[in-house]
């Protein structure tokens, strides 16, 4: 089973509650380096299916409960565990339950994107994305961008998280949690794992 690297919970809790435009947090150095490297390798060996619609063009694995790679199945067990739910509960102050809600790998290649939406589906409370790519910079795109809410519509982008190796971003899901994944530009592929807690 995986275990989260020691974190300063009080600081993360403060970061989450004070974040703008809506509660969110960046947790760097999330898992031990060797686990992150092994997960990244497993994810690159997992089959991806192309997904293309008006809202997105990207590549996705099956729900990792059914992953071909045993390590990804173990990661699925970990994010479904009480330990992970307790950690997220401490950081966010939200009363989330153990048990995963859709957990899959994503791959964004050059020109891939996910346009702005709020994620408000079913009873999602927290969305999280765990990055397993080399660090991205502004010219390479791939940022998770967070928008302000302008009377029920997305306003301006006020925060951008460029993928950072072995980091996890979590945010509170609401009808105001407008966000997007900006287009990846160039040859570097953007790999991540993501899911929701309820």
């Amino acid at each position: 089973m995986f275990s989260i690297n020691e974190q300063n919970i009080a600081k993360l809790k403060k970061d989450f509650s004070e974040a703008k435009p809506y509660p969110h947090v960046l947790i760097e150095n999330f898992l031990p380096e060797k686990d992150a490297k092994a997960l990244a390798r497993a994810l690159r060996n997992e089959p991806f299916k192309e997904k293309d619609s008006d809202l997105f063009h990207l590549w996705q694995t099956v729900d990792l409960e059914n992953a071909k790679q045993p390590l990804l199945k173990q990661m699925h067990e970990f994010v479904s565990s009480k330990d992970f739910a307790t950690f997220m509960k401490e950081v966010t102050g939200l009363n989330v339950k153990a048990g995963v809600l859709d957990f899959a790998g994503s791959l964004y290649k050059d020109t891939n994107y996910l346009l702005c939406h709020d994620d408000k589906v079913e009873d999602r409370k927290i969305a999280y994305i765990y990055y397993l790519s080399e660090d991205f910079n502004e010219s390479e795109g791939g940022a998770l961008s967070l928008f302000t809410d302008d009377n029920g519509k997305p306003g301006k982008v006020v925060k951008r998280f460029y993928p950072k190796w072995n980091s996890l971003v979590a945010f509170e899901v609401s009808s105001k949690s407008w966000h997007a994944v900006e287009e990846v530009i160039g040859k570097k592929d953007r790999y991540a794992l993501g899911g929701w807690l309820r």
Binding site: D54, H57, T111, L115, D118, G141, K153, E183
Partner: protein, 183 residues
């Protein structure tokens, strides 16, 4: 204005048959004559006003009437679709890198005939910008960007349309999408 090759009774009859046989879809290349195509390219070179709503659309709007909102085109659309048509909506939109429109319930319309005309000096299909039309439960119909091309498509009340995101390979290129909707 219409390419003379399309604008005679025998060809109009053939186009009407093709439109019906293809389930209410007709795509025509080289749609306008040289003068008409040049006018559209002139319009495509104008700077528009940015329209942006992150969860719905991003493009430049350009004011002005075009051939697609003329009586002549209304008659053409009526002849091809086999039904008297009346223009109810028109738009001229210029798409650059990062522009798009999304399907949204607010955009839901009734039964309609949609005409989309593209004008551009340079475009590659891999750059995006395709007009995509959902048709019932079947596969969506994709109309790629090509200069001086037109689609006439019959849409039902549950059919939607969107314009695919324009990706970074488009660089600074753009295209003009002129659209008219008829009832």
């Amino acid at each position: 204005m219409i390419n003379p090759a399309y604008n005679n009774p025998a060809v109009l009859k053939e186009m009407a048959s093709a439109f019906k046989a293809q389930g209410g879809i007709l795509v025509l290349g080289d749609f306008l004559d040289n003068n008409g195509s040049k006018k559209m390219l002139d319009l495509a070179s104008k700077k528009g006003k940015k329209s942006f709503r992150g969860d719905l659309f991003s493009y430049e709007s350009i004011e002005g009437d075009t051939f697609l909102s003329s009586r002549e085109f209304e008659q053409f659309a009526s002849s091809v679709s086999g039904k008297k048509r009346t223009l109810i909506e028109r738009s001229n939109r210029k798409y650059f890198h990062k522009d798009f429109t999304l399907i949204h319930d607010e955009a839901k319309q009734g039964k309609r005939l949609v005409a989309v005309y593209n004008s551009c000096s340079k475009w590659d299909d891999s750059w995006g910008g395709q007009a995509v039309f959902t048709k019932g439960d079947g596969s969506p119909f994709v109309f790629s960007v090509a200069n001086n091309s037109l689609i006439l498509i019959e849409c039902g009340k549950d059919d939607y349309e969107f314009t695919k995101y324009v990706n970074n390979h488009a660089k600074k290129n753009s295209f003009l999408q002129v659209k008219s909707v008829f009832e």
